[in-house]
Amino acid sequence: MVNKRNKIVVTFISILFGLIVGALALAIAGFNPIEAYKIMFEGIFGSPKYISWTIVRSTPLILTGISVAFAFKTGLFNIGAEGQYIIGSLVATLVGYFVKLPVGIHAIVAMLAGCLAAAIWGGIAGLLKAKFGINEVITTIMLNWTALYFSNYVVFWEPFKRPNRDASQQILDTASIEILRNWKTSDAGREFLRNHEFLKNFLNPPVNFGFIIAILVAILIWYILKNTTLGYQLKAVGFNKDAAEYGGINVKRNMVISMMIAGAIAGLAGATQVLGVSRETAILSAAEGYGFDGMAVALIANSNPIACIAAGLLFGGLKYAGSKLQPLIGAPLEVINITIGVIVFFIAMPKLIDILLSVINGKKRGAKVEDTK
């Protein structure tokens, strides 16, 4: 069994290897990797604006990452974060547009509605597994597509669709979770920001409460898993459902609960994205990939909800900075995808890292490998 510290080391080495292989890919494609990485670094840390963009872009990935990580800790493979994300954003948009409520309360209601709908969406997969033994991997994949087309169908609904746009109506301002949105565009706000360069820059992107919510959710999920009877029974079912059943734990009910919680978190990712950034649900021809990226985030975080924050930021940062390579030096975004892919690849193979480490250290291989379990 790999101990905790070892796992963290493996993670960092995997990231390093990922960057090295990414550099090789860049070099082979004819770009200077050092220059490219410099652009990426500056693309994240070069300006307060970039930092806040990185945070904004990472927020949904952190949440879908926690969703996948939570399900994984309880023995389920949630490939459905994508669909749950879509349902969460759709319902949040619907509530954000149609329901009239005071500022703040409106946002909270829209968010909870998105969570609830996505929880039910995830719960379907849990129920199918509990009742009929259908593998959640299959059902969640299919539910992703169902969610996508269902969302498109609803957006095409006359009262909801924005005329001449392939998107829904925008949410009302009362439902927004963007920080200081009205103030930013008011005269006083403009005046103030003109004199405060850093804040002006930092608040330029749609900075919103989503990131804070994601951190709170990470802590909450960590707490549930570690300190509650709910977490105890969910983990028991995840690790060994035969023993859980023997111990008197209701295995089926816990499967459904687990998928519902995972769904709610992924739905929250969609809701915060709508209420804080996009303000609408667009008609999609294919999934945006937040749920799938969440799987990578969970993997990098070793299914630890708190670590999902860092992993989400890393992932979001790489993607955001990678998008700057093309306009500046013409390097394709795919290189970044290769880098991310390699990181995940190495993390998925802790044994390989162990072997590499022991070769580097000149230690005996057998002992190390056996240690990994």
């Binding site: 069994m1 300190n227 509650t228 009877t229 709910l230 977490g231 105890y232 029974q233 983990k235 028991a236 690790f239 060994n240 035969d242 023993a243 859980a244 059943e245 023997y246 111990g247 008197g248 734990i249 209701n250």
Partner: protein, 336 residues
């Protein structure tokens, strides 16, 4: 698993092979078999060779102490005890196996307070299905299970545990333990939702750890590390964790299924001691085992199961191996 008669036949075959000049290596933890057929015996313990001896020069006790590294007593120490009233009654029970065929076919049995009732039988005669039905893990098709006068047929596992039936499961790694949980977490598998281990849905880590530390000490689980993952323990120590948990629950009825499977002689002695202790406290123990010796040593009464039914119930003091062996093979039923 073989019946005693079949074991004898096997020993006969081995002896005839050696008399023809063949060499046979037999690997077993059954001392009786070694005494029966082996000429020389090499004892290994924890991957190391301890000694090679001429079998006729050593006693079973000496062999056992070499295997375990300390003196072992074979005789299960127990005093006569008058059993009390019926606590668990199984009445005309029918249970299906995984293929949907009847595995338990009209089984009836009464378990009394202060007795160890051994269930002897060859593997695959309905023991597994009976056990699972008794613990709520498998549906009862018809018939009744009565605990303390209360019908507990087809209740959930938790309700059955709460009614006073605890179980040492047949497969400790599949059923008995969550191997990825720590020893402490495993100690509360059935009671995590009760005080003092939790209140209001929050786990009380201190109470859990104190409890686990006490049990690990009392039941001599090695290493004494409650943060150790259960999967990292040896088989004997895993069994001690289960034993500690189930016995500390102090159940009215303890169903021990194959409680010594795969354990060394030392650990077996230890498990038997605790089963007898439960009986002496006036609790009822149902011992399901494929080891006839174990059933005969520990039980007060022996019920023989064959083809999903109890074919006979014998007094352990007067029962002999041959009769039970015949019954186990269905001999008593159709007069084979």
């Amino acid at each position: 698993m073989l019946t005693p008669q079949e074991i004898d036949e096997l020993m006969e075959i081995i002896r005839s092979l050696t008399s023809q000049g063949k060499t046979v290596i037999i690997i077993t933890h059954k001392l009786k078999e070694i005494k029966q057929v082996a000429d020389y015996c090499t004892i290994i313990r924890r991957g190391k060779k301890i000694d090679t001896v001429k079998v006729e020069d050593v006693s079973e006790e000496q062999l056992a102490s070499m295997m375990v590294g300390r003196n072992v007593s074979f005789k299960v120490d127990k005093t006569d005890r008058e059993p009390g009233e019926v606590v668990l009654e199984i009445d005309n029970l029918y249970v299906k196996d995984n293929r949907g065929l009847d595995a338990v076919k009209g089984l009836s049995l009464k378990l009394r307070k202060g007795e160890v009732l051994g269930l002897a039988g060859v593997d695959g005669n309905g023991q597994k299905e009976l056990l699972e039905a008794l613990t709520g893990l498998r549906k009862v098709e018809s018939g009744k299970i009565i605990m303390n006068g209360q019908d507990i047929t087809n209740l959930s596992p938790r309700e059955i545990i709460d009614s006073g039936i605890n179980n040492i499961p047949e497969d400790r790694q599949k059923r008995g333990l969550v191997l990825d949980f720590t020893v402490a977490e495993n100690m509360i598998l059935e009671n995590y939702h009760k005080k003092p281990f939790s209140s209001g849905g929050r786990l009380n880590h201190k109470a859990i750890n104190d409890f686990a530390t006490e049990l690990v000490e009392k039941f001599d689980v090695r290493p004494r590390n409650i943060k150790q993952f259960a999967g990292a323990l040896s088989g004997g120590n895993q069994q001690k964790v289960i034993l500690a948990r189930e016995i500390t629950n102090n159940p009215e009825v303890l169903i021990a299924a194959q409680p010594t499977r795969g354990l060394d002689v030392g650990a077996i002695e230890y498990v038997h001691k605790y089963l007898i202790e439960q009986r002496d406290k006036g609790k009822a123990v149902l011992l399901i085992s494929f080891e006839l010796d174990e059933v005969m040593d520990v039980s007060d009464r022996i019920a023989v199961i064959y083809d999903g039914k109890i074919v006979d119930i014998l007094d352990a003091k007067t029962a002999d191996e041959k009769t039970i062996g015949l019954l186990m093979a269905g001999g008593g039923v159709d007069g084979e």
